[in-house]
Amino acid sequence: MKIILPLAFALILSGPALAQQTSPQGSVTAGSGGTAAVGGNSASTLGAGAVSNSPNGDASALGMGASAAGDNTKTRAGVHGNNNLNGNAMAMAHDGGDMAKSHTVCHDRSDSVDCRTKTMAHEPGGPPVKSTSQGEAAIPQQ
């Protein structure tokens, strides 16, 4: 009895850990994008993600893009991760004075997609003009 009781207690505690976790079934997509432009410089970034959970298996996909035009430009995009995907896209253009910048970050999780884009345009002597856009969607819990 002294052994059985602790053993039963341990089994009760480990129950939730042993239970199989399943993602909610369904499909969602979301994306965001933005452009900043000032003078002859422009910078654009976007991201679009999809998550689908079905009896056939869980799947996700993420696409990112960046584009910039101007005297000096810099663009970068990347996607990392396996089941949870993280994406980044960055674009910047400047001519020594004016500067345009855009940055998008996306997350594909097991049951949701979230993308956020921030842009900034700046002229010398003036305040930076900033904006943020976001797209998010989640599979409802059953």
């Binding site: 999809a50 056939n56 799947a59 893009g65 910039a68 101007g70 990347g78």
Partner: protein, 119 residues
């Protein structure tokens, strides 16, 4: 076969279609920003275009020079999720794509052959 049997069969067919509809439901999102565009689709169970079932990641992003166009398309292994991004000509650009294990990633545009990454 009498009329009653035929009606019953049609009823079963209708029920089968209704039961299958949630699994076949498709959702999509399209995004456009300046000279780039992107789309994402989920829920369709179309098989992948190629038999390549290796996990794909990428791309190299050190090459962002101007080219005719540049794009990426990702499709999950079971075809139920896909995403794409493409940039129009002009300026510098970079695209990247990735998916869950088994996804197929394909790059388009200049240097597509070099930038195609699948591992």
């Amino acid at each position: 076969m009498n009329m009653r049997t035929m009606k019953l069969r049609h009823a079963y067919l209708l029920l089968a279609c209704l039961a299958a509809s949630p699994a076949l439901a498709q959702v999509s999102a399209s995004v456009t920003a300046g000279s780039i565009g992107g789309t994402a689709q989920a829920g369709s169970h179309t098989p992948p275009n190629t038999p390549d079932d290796r996990v794909a990641r990428g791309p190299r992003t050190d090459d962002t020079r101007n080219c005719d166009s540049r794009g990426v398309r990702v499709q999950s292994g079971n075809g139920s999720a896909s995403a794409s991004a493409s940039a129009s000509p002009g300026g510098s650009s970079a695209v990247a794509g990735g998916g869950s294990p088994g996804a197929h990633t394909e790059f388009f545009g200049c240097d597509a052959d070099d930038k195609r990454s699948a591992r």
